[in-house]
């Protein structure tokens, strides 16, 4: 099969890459771009471990073809936080509230929460629960994750997601 050339912005950097027509975005991120923070928990769009943000929306990268990403802006867990290593407020709050245990669901959850808070400044607990209901976590029982997101919402400001680093 002929490979397809895709141009996309990943975590602020322009990426031009040849992909198999049937390659999943998840594998392209993990195997070709070495962004292994995004995880696979089910491969069928049910667990949210593979959540990344595409053009501002949280999506399951196991259900998306890399070939369809032409011109898209993609954010993964590796792109959060600032240039000099400081954490994104969601990451800070996840740590503060003990919102992660094994951590396997964490990148996906943080990305779902980010996409949600980027457009909702004063969410209720119920809205938060709904926003992350596609992200399974087997360890925490979700309570402290909801606490962390609720707390992050208080000081939240929308980071400049589309900035292109040199």
């Amino acid at each position: 099969m002929n490979k397809i050339n895709v141009n996309m912005i990943v975590n602020g950097e322009v990426v031009s890459i040849l992909v198999e027509p049937n390659a999943r975005l998840l594998d392209t991120l993990r195997d070709n771009l070495e962004l292994t923070g995004t995880k696979e928990g089910c491969g069928v769009g049910e667990c949210g471990a593979c959540t990344v943000i595409v053009d501002g929306e949280a999506v399951n990268s196991c259900m998306i073809l890399a070939a369809s990403m032409e011109g898209k802006v993609i954010e993964t867990i590796e792109g959060l936080g600032g240039d000099n290593g400081e954490l994104h407020i969601l990451q800070e709050k996840f740590i503060e509230h003990s919102a992660l245990q094994c951590g396997f669901c964490t990148p996906g959850l943080v990305m779902s929460a980010k996409a949600f808070l980027d457009v909702n400044d004063k969410p209720t607990r119920e809205e938060i629960k709904t926003a992350i209901s596609g992200n399974l976590c087997r360890c925490t029982g979700y309570s402290q994750i909801v606490d962390a997101i609720e707390d992050a919402a208080k000081d939240y400001y929308v980071y400049d997601v589309c900035r292109v680093k040199k």
């Binding site: 667990c47 954490l87 003990s98 094994c102 396997f104 964490t106 402290q144």
Partner: protein, 759 residues
């Protein structure tokens, strides 16, 4: 600058996506292996045709049991690849090694295996029946144990009421979010294997046996672990050994990662149980006798069924003061996925049964269930169901906290009057109480040991060497805390060495909630050794007795002369200057328990953990939907090293038990699993979880480090019975077989409507 948090030792790597889980790693020239699985639950292998797969472009090798240089398994343990007889559907019979994971998976479909199908036995009752198809030459009995005290016949005579009830629990999958994975890398010395596991030394043993190597020729390294709950014990050894076998035969690094479907089909499960009870109770509500018959489904292989069976036997009479108890447990081999420990290690099964049972009895005799349990539960120095004198009992405190936080009496009355108003949704409240033996206990004496070493450097930095797996429960953080509290040093000084069997000593598995008690104690003893060495010098310098010294805030002093002190770093410098080493080693073993194994009587565990729960549920009478509105979980942890982490453990355990209560059920009636991914095997989401009120009680034990009790597993024990009892309070429907899913609830609601129509 990265902000420092006094939290878990591994969080920064995890929150930034930098933590390396096994599947995140790769090596030059790495190959991929895929497993060929049997589609029948019971079959004899006639032949395996590999040619077609071998010729598929990109395939490097096809491997079967014949290629194993060592042994495929110990007797009645699950083989790495099946040599002759497949005992459950989904077992591996061959491996395909290829240049990519896609090619390996595609080519695996081309391996043709001819089977002679055998009749399958897929329930414990059927397996124990007279003319059942034999799964092993000597039959299907996996184990049988009995326990008890007093004389139940006499006890029943003293009773005014006799109750006979039966409860059933289902097959549950652990579903850690990370599936089984392994990478094996051949080395000049032997083999290095990376895989997530609860028990690195055990997994290494399995790999060495498969490859025919000495244990120390295999180096087992545990990267970050994406959850286990018991799933990554024997299963981790299996996938580790498969990848190691492929790596040995091809001479290249080999990666294997199970898809969720593979994990569901081949991975271990929680033992399904049938629990039969006969109970005698007086008019005044005292339990005079309890007779228990437990039957468990061990699946096709042994695994840890023996210690699980023993635990269920010991704990089946609940945390109650009963003079006469007689219990027995029988586990059967069946043609189902093999059962193994799962968060709770048998306790959730019998806690469900005994806690619903006592609720039923209370309701039938007109007692308030919480009051009834209060009246009967074990108090300090009472005798357990197997004859153990119980000490450090905090049940009273746990009940009191739960009662207070829930406002039990008032809420129960309020909900009852709300129900009287009618409506399509009804609410109810339920209670459960548990005790749980810590670590492996009497049944595991001799294997319940741990070694921990502390490497102390010139700058006073301390590295903890231990094979303890941090499966997500914060075990490493617990150890760091034990060291800090024992030596009075700053957190920054202490780091955990990576789990690598070539360097770290064997601390045993992270299972049965033994981490805090057994491994924590070994860590404490190692720190005590360091402390002792420093104290000898400090006592010298300060002119006081070494026993008087206190280690706190990096200072060492005698409380009598607090203004005269030396500091930790100076003592480290001094010890090195004298040509000695401050490093230390700790060894802890659970021993000295007086347990009569044949009769199941005596000291079953060194210590116990206690907990209580109150929950409120809402049942939709039209759809059968049960939603858990509130959950109050009270757990005595003895000593909380970090409250927020403790609460995380409680919430997580409760969520697992909510799944067990309401949805999770591996659908495998005929030995064929139908729900193999999260679209059909439902686990709780954020919308299924109630608002949690987790309450931490701290009544120290004499055995745990700083009085701490283990916590991981007790948290998964109260929710199922509490929810089922709340459903009864709401609807009058008594669920005796888990889960109370939509179908069950609809069916029961229909039955109860029919009953009312008849009346």
């Amino acid at each position: 600058m990265v902000k420092k948090h006094g939290r878990r030792v591994d969080v920064l790597a995890k929150i930034t996506g930098k933590a390396q889980y096994t599947n995140d790693m790769s090596f030059p020239h790495m190959l991929y292996a895929s497993t060929v699985r049997c589609p029948n639950p019971h079959a004899k292998i006639i032949s395996i045709e590999r040619e077609q797969a071998e010729q598929y472009p990109g395939v490097v090798m096809v491997i079967t049991a014949d290629n194993i240089p060592g042994i495929p398994s110990q007797y009645k343990q699950k083989p790495i690849l099946v040599p002759e007889v497949v005992r459950y559907e989904g077992e591996g019979v061959a491996l395909v090694v290829a240049k990519s994971k896609v090619i390996a998976a595609e080519a695996a479909k081309l391996v043709k295996v001819i089977y002679d199908e055998l009749p399958a036995v897929t329930s414990a009752e059927a397996a124990l029946g007279k003319n059942a198809q034999k799964i092993y030459d000597d039959g299907n009995l996996l184990c049988k144990y009995k326990a008890g005290k007093g004389n139940v016949e006499e006890g029943f005579k003293k009773a005014d009421h006799i109750f006979e009830k039966e409860y059933r629990t289902q097959r549950v999958d652990h579903t850690p979010l990370e599936t089984e994975a392994a990478i094996a890398v051949p080395t000049t010395e032997g083999m290095t294997v990376y895989a997530p596991t609860n028990d690195a030394y055990k997994a290494r043993l399995l790999i060495a046996e498969t490859l025919g190597l000495r244990e120390n020729q295999v180096r087992f390294i545990t990267p970050a672990i994406g959850g286990s709950f018991g799933a990554k014990n024997y299963d981790a050894g299996v996938i580790g050994a498969r990848s190691a076998l492929a790596a040995m035969l091809t001479g290249k690094p080999v990666k294997m990662v199970f898809t969720r479907e593979e994990s569901m089909i081949e991975g271990t499960k929680r033992h399904p149980y049938i629990c039969k009870y006969k109970v005698g109770v007086t008019k005044a509500g005292r339990i005079t006798a309890m007779e228990i018959d437990l039957i468990g489904d061990g699946g096709a292989y042994l695994s840890k069924s023996h210690p699980v069976a023993t635990r269920t036997l010991i704990e089946a009479s609940g945390p109650y003061n009963i003079d006469n108890v007689k219990s027995k447990v029988t586990l059967a081999f069946t043609n189902n996925t093999y059962s193994d420990a799962m968060r709770g290690f048998g306790s959730p099964q019998v806690d469900f049964a005994s806690e619903v049972l006592l609720d039923e009895i209370a309701c039938e005799l007109g007692f308030d269930p919480l009051e009834f349990k209060k009246m009967n539960h074990i108090k300090e120095n009472d005798i357990s169901g197997v004859g153990q004198v119980m000490t450090d009992v905090s049940l009273g405190k746990c009940v009191a906290e739960a009662e207070k936080a829930s406002n039990w009496k008032e809420r129960k009355a309020e909900l009852a009057s709300e129900r009287n108003k009618g409506g399509s949704k009804v609410k109810g409240i339920g209670f459960a109480l548990i005790h749980r033996g810590e670590a492996f206990g009497a049944a595991g004496q001799g294997i319940d040991t741990a070694e921990v070493q502390l490497l102390v450097n010139n700058d006073g930095g301390i590295t903890i060497l231990s094979s303890m797996a941090d499966v997500g429960m914060g075990g490493h953080t617990m150890m760091v805390n034990v060291i800090m509290e024992t030596l009075g040093v700053k957190r920054e000084r202490v780091v955990m060495a990576p789990v690598d069997t070539s360097y770290v000593p064997n601390s045993g598995p992270s299972s049965a909630t033994r981490g805090t008690m057994v491994i924590g104690n070994a860590a404490r003893l190692a720190a005590e050794e360091v402390k002792d060495k420093l104290a000898a010098i400090a006592a010298d310098v300060l002119g006081v007795l070494k026993e008087e010294l206190v280690f706190k805030n990096e200072q060492i002093y005698s409380p009598g002369k607090a203004d005269e002190h030396v500091n930790y770093q100076d003592m480290i410098n001094e010890i090195f200057a004298r040509g000695q080493t401050p490093s230390g080693r700790g060894w802890y073993t659970v021993s000295g328990l007086d347990w009569d194994r044949a009769n199941g009587f005596g000291e079953a565990y060194l210590s116990y953990a206690y907990g209580a729960a109150v929950t409120e549920v809402e049942v939709d009478l039209e759809t059968g939907q049960v939603s858990v509105d509130k959950f109050i979980a009270v757990h005595d942890v003895g000593h909380a090293f970090d409250k927020s982490e403790v609460i995380g453990q409680i919430n997580g355990g409760v969520s697992m038990a909510v799944g067990m209560a309401l949805f999770e059920d591996v659908d495998s009636k005929i030995g064929h699993i139908k729900n193999t991914n999260f679209d059909k095997y439902l686990i709780p989401t954020s919308l299924d979880m109630p608002e949690m009120n987790s309450i931490v009680v701290e009544v120290p034990t004499k055995t745990g480090p700083f009085g701490a009790r283990g916590l991981g597993e007790p948290t998964a024990c109260t929710a199922a019975p509490a929810i089922i009892n709340a459903i009864y309070d709401a609807t009058g429907i008594r669920i005796r077989e888990l889960p109370a899913n939509l179908e069950t609830m609809m069916e029961e609601l229909k039955n109860s409507r029919n009953k009312t129509d008849l009346n």
